[in-house]
């Protein structure tokens, strides 16, 4: 088997390093041969070599939908990126329950909400509610967790008051971060309120949303950020490990 060159990683389709990318997009032009040509030219300008339209169809009058292949000639140095942040090996639900029993000897209390004006509760429901996500229980279904899901449009002060009231180990907030400052402000305000209440040392703060990365989480002041594709056991793994580490370092 060919060895992967981790200093120059590029997309993979048929064989290593071929750089093949599949993409889809819509152009606001009528379904025609000219439309196909426009898509090819656009893909070329995106930097793709040998662009190819494998499927295109009319979406509605004046709009054409494309599926394309293209060869990406760029690569990234994965080696240089490793060692940034947690390289977590996630535990399964059973492993988490056992880990919590062994290291924490009590229930882990988690309070979650979508804060501010955000009306999306899908993310927080997927993480906390029994139904869960992708065939995995939410934290509500774990013996070792006690969860409080406050729903959506919760003011930061109310979320924090609840967290203090129930003695939360972790607060989980969900926000759809956009380029507008509003959502970002909502996220930083919670961190600052936790600080103002003198509770920053007692609580793990995690945020989640479609655009949340670890880099963003760090700038916002959170202990971790969770993005698309996160399953409840990923979040649970982080919380129990971080709690155990805090217990250990506080002697």
């Amino acid at each position: 088997m060919r060895e992967v060159d981790l200093t120059a990683v590029r997309p993979y389709a048929d064989h290593l390093g071929d750089g093949l990318v599949q993409m889809s997009f819509t152009l606001p032009v009528p379904y025609s041969l000219a439309a196909r040509k426009a898509a090819l030219e656009l893909a070329g300008r995106m930097g793709f070599e040998e662009p190819e339209v494998v499927h295109y169809e009319q979406l509605t009058d004046g709009y054409t939908y494309f599926v394309m292949y293209g060869r990406c000639v760029q690569s990234v140095d994965f080696e240089a990126l490793q060692g940034e942040g947690f390289d977590i090996e996630y535990m399964s639900e059973d492993e988490i329950e056992r880990f919590a029993e062994e290291h924490l000897h009590r229930k882990v209390v988690v309070v979650g909400a979508s804060t501010g004006s955000d009306t999306h509760s899908v993310g927080i429901d997927a993480m906390l509610n029994l139904k869960g996500y992708h065939g995995h229980h939410g934290l509500e279904g774990y013996r070792s967790f006690e969860t409080h899901n406050l729903g959506s449009q919760v003011p930061n002060s109310v979320l924090l008051a609840k967290a203090i009231e129930v003695g939360a180990d972790a607060i989980l907030v969900s926000q759809t971060v956009t380029q507008q400052n509003l959502h970002v402000h909502n996220l930083t305000e919670l961190v600052e309120m936790v600080e103002a209440e003198g509770r920053r040392g007692d609580m793990i703060l995690a945020c989640g949303g479609p655009r949340v990365s670890n880099e963003l989480a760090k700038e916002l002041g959170y202990d971790a950020g969770f993005s698309k594709g996160t399953e409840p056991q990923h979040l649970a793994t982080f919380i129990v490990r971080e709690l155990a580490a805090r217990v250990a370092s506080s002697g």
Partner: protein, 343 residues
């Protein structure tokens, strides 16, 4: 110059009123000035600094952080390694961040580095003191986005605020918002020994108008209320509505300005409604920097912005560190010139 004005503060916090207000440019300017004065600095960031691109809008390029040899820095193991700067490891802290564990190191040579230290205020204080103990003459604590906790007197001795066009498309709004933020930072010091009614913990977080009204009725002579923790805008507005209707005056005493969370209205407006704010520990504001440019949006005239801010805010020097007016500005293109400047 910034370095002169901030010299008295051993632990100096830099706080922006929003993203892209030029906080990192102010930090870079300060670092350059301190280097030319031969001062040994320590640097940490509650967020992440010196990254190439904005974390939310990747189209925005960010200034790099250049440190001189001998500087101390608190950043993560990965970022320290990635900088390629030779260094001496001084301390491995217990602080875990989403980007890795925080180390304290002394650089053996100059170079550009991404700085990501602890986020939590208490840990910021710990690493700042550690860098001072290891020989830093001054520690610069860079903020992130609009976070203020590290400017608390529990952490820092002095503050530089960065503001800019990014706050609003109307220059008058930018001036108003900045002046509100400055009023908050410079709340009057609470009178010592004055009688005050201590509010229950969490009451300011959850109380609705009705409960606040009950409290006022139950304590008709209370003039001063003591807030132990956070004071959110919701509570302030509900209280102001009551004091305004009842023509009553209430003083709210907070531990320091970072405990107060304001919305649109500033301390001056609340005072008009009958609610005055006081802080047990005020913050020392050393200077304000302005960025007249809102990336990928609009630009104000730098002089006009500084003049309007100066009319609204008394007794604080206001700088645009990239403008030829700035005293520390030797040449307009100082940011890109480094080849002619042997370290």
């Amino acid at each position: 110059m910034l370095s002169e004005l901030t010299a008295p503060y051993r632990r100096l916090a830099l706080v922006g009123l929003a993203k892209n207000t030029g906080k990192t440019v102010a930090l870079a300017t300060l670092l350059r000035e301190l280097e030319s004065e031969g001062r040994r600095v320590g640097v940490t960031s509650v967020g992440r600094d010196g990254e190439e691109h904005d974390v939310i809008d990747a189209r925005i390029e960010k200034p790099s952080i250049q440190l001189s040899g001998g500087s101390l820095v608190a950043t993560t193991d990965g970022l320290l390694r990635a900088s390629g700067i030779p260094h001496e490891l001084l301390e491995q802290t217990d602080v875990r961040t989403p980007l890795g564990r925080v180390l304290i190191a002394r650089l053996r040579g100059p170079g550009a580095i991404e700085v990501a230290g602890p986020s939590a205020a208490e840990q910021v204080r710990t690493v700042s003191d550690a860098m001072l103990a290891h020989g830093a003459e001054q520690v610069l604590i860079d903020g992130a986005i609009d976070r203020r906790a590290a400017s608390s007197p529990d952490v820092a001795d002095g503050l530089v605020i960065s503001t800019g066009a990014v706050l609003d498309t109307e220059i008058a709004e930018v001036v108003q918002m900045t002046s509100n933020a400055v009023e908050l930072v410079r709340l009057p010091r609470a009178k010592e020994g004055a009688e005050a009614l201590a509010l229950n913990p969490r009451f300011p977080l959850t109380a609705e108008g009705e409960q606040i009204a009950e409290l006022l009725d139950a304590n008709p002579d209370a003039r001063r209320l003591l807030v132990a923790g956070a004071l959110p805008d919701r509570f302030l507005r509900a209280l102001a509505h009551l004091t305004h209707c009842r023509r009553r005056e209430i003083v709210l005493v907070v531990a320091d300005p970072t405990k107060v969370f304001l919305g649109k209205r500033g301390p001056f407006w609340f005072a008009h409604q009958g609610v005055r704010l006081e802080a047990v520990h005020p913050i020392e504001l050393a200077a304000i920097t302005v960025n007249p440019v809102a990336p990928r949006s609009h630009t104000f005239d730098s002089r006009e912005l500084r003049e309007l801010l100066g009319q609204a805010i008394a007794d604080v020097p206001i700088f645009d560190v990239l403008h030829p007016d700035y005293p520390g500005m030797r040449q307009p293109a100082a940011r890109s010139a480094s080849a002619s400047d042997p370290a």
